[in-house]
């Protein structure tokens, strides 16, 4: 071990002092020439059908350079495990804060004004905020193409010991709601 420079030695964090001095530039610290300022329009409703979006008044506000909604996107669905996200809400807002539209303008005040000029017609829908309630049959469905609000999921978990590798398969079903699965494998 003694002839190794890195392994077996303690090293300070490469950017630790810079962060401690407040010198690190995070995204919101950046000021770039001709930079635009963005704002997101978010749903005030936990669950609502988006009947119509009119961005015309926002688009024509002096200083607004762009307004975008789902219609401006290729509609790609993505997500870490299940592909159930779109970058903007397509036809329904699924939580308070769901992204409906975005604007880019010359300054922050203009961007904020532009949000107020976007007219969205919502139709309130029933919602659930409790996971147990959400799993009951008849609960408002979050995704129309899934029959239930929870996923049956198979996961492969690898547990390594010094002498052998074990693989364990866990099936999570909608009906089971016991202790969190992580508690058993917290050590890895």
């Amino acid at each position: 071990m003694s002839d190794l420079n890195v392994v077996g030695h303690s090293h300070p964090q490469i950017d630790g002092m810079e962060k401690a001095m407040g010198q690190t530039q995070f995204v919101s610290d950046l000021v770039l020439p001709n930079m635009l300022h963005g704002r997101i329009l978010r749903s005030p409703y936990p669950h609502a059908h988006i009947k119509h979006i009119d961005t015309s008044r926002a688009e024509t506000l002096v200083g607004v350079k762009a307004v975008a909604t789902y219609a401006d996107t290729p509609g790609i669905r993505f997500g870490p495990r299940t592909e159930d996200w779109t970058i903007f809400a397509r036809d329904r807002a699924r939580f308070c804060g769901d992204e409906i539209a975005a604007v880019a303008a010359l300054d922050e005040d203009t961007a904020e004004e532009a949000l107020d000029l976007i007219e969205v017609e919502y139709e309130d829908l029933p919602f659930v905020t409790d996971p147990i309630e959400a799993m009951k049959p008849g609960a408002p469905l979050i995704h129309e193409d899934l029959p239930l609000n929870s996923r049956s999921r198979q996961g492969m978990w690898m547990r390594h010991s010094r002498t052998r590798t074990l693989s364990m398969k866990i099936v999570i079903t909608p009906t089971r709601c016991t202790r969190p699965i992580w508690s058993r494998w917290a050590h890895w």
């Binding site: 300070p12 964090q13 950017d15 630790g16 002092m17 810079e18 962060k19 401690a20 001095m21 407040g22 010198q23 690190t24 530039q25 995070f26 919101s28 610290d29 000021v31």
Partner: protein
């Protein structure tokens, strides 16, 4: 309608004209270019905008710029002296108390305010002093250790 104010920031005087509803955090970050002070929640809940105002830690997002008129402000940029880091900054790095670094400026300033008043704080006093500074990364243990080590260091130096 702008209001003329005079801020002393990190020992330097700044004469500014500000709209009355501008916050100190925005004036520091935008007008003075001191982006070490972070804006997390903008509503006084996270503490990432903490600065020292006349020695006391405040959420600069809750201070209207005119309220800071005539006051001495210390931001994270004001801790290092001629490029030499403050002992708290050294301790935070040495103890691994920094991960993403977003809470660190505010956290370090809250710690400074504590040590200025109480040079050898116990764990409870430290945790209480940083209660207004949220950290999503570290779980606070290393932060507390870093602050404690500064207190101990002081005591060791005094005993020598």
């Amino acid at each position: 309608m702008k209001i003329p104010i005079m801020l002393t920031v990190n020992g330097e005087d700044h004469r500014l004209e500000v709209k009355p509803n501008r916050t100190l955090v925005d004036v520091l970050r935008e007008d003075l270019g001191l982006t070490g002070t972070k804006k997390g929640c903008g509503g006084g809940k996270c503490g990432s905008c903490t600065v020292l105002m006349d020695g006391l830690p405040v959420d600069s997002c809750l201070v209207l710029a005119p309220q800071a008129d005539g006051r001495e402000i210390v931001t994270i940029e004001g801790l290092a002296k001629e490029g030499k880091p403050h002992p708290l900054q050294e301790a935070f790095v040495a103890k691994g108390a920094i991960q993403c670094g977003y809470c660190s400026p505010g956290m370090i300033l809250s710690a400074k305010a504590l040590l200025d008043e109480n040079p050898h704080p116990g764990e409870g006093e430290i945790r209480s002093a940083i209660a207004g500074n949220l950290c999503r990364c570290t779980g606070y243990s290393k932060i507390v250790e870093a602050i404690q080590s500064c207190g101990l260091r002081d005591r060791e130096e005094k005993n020598e």
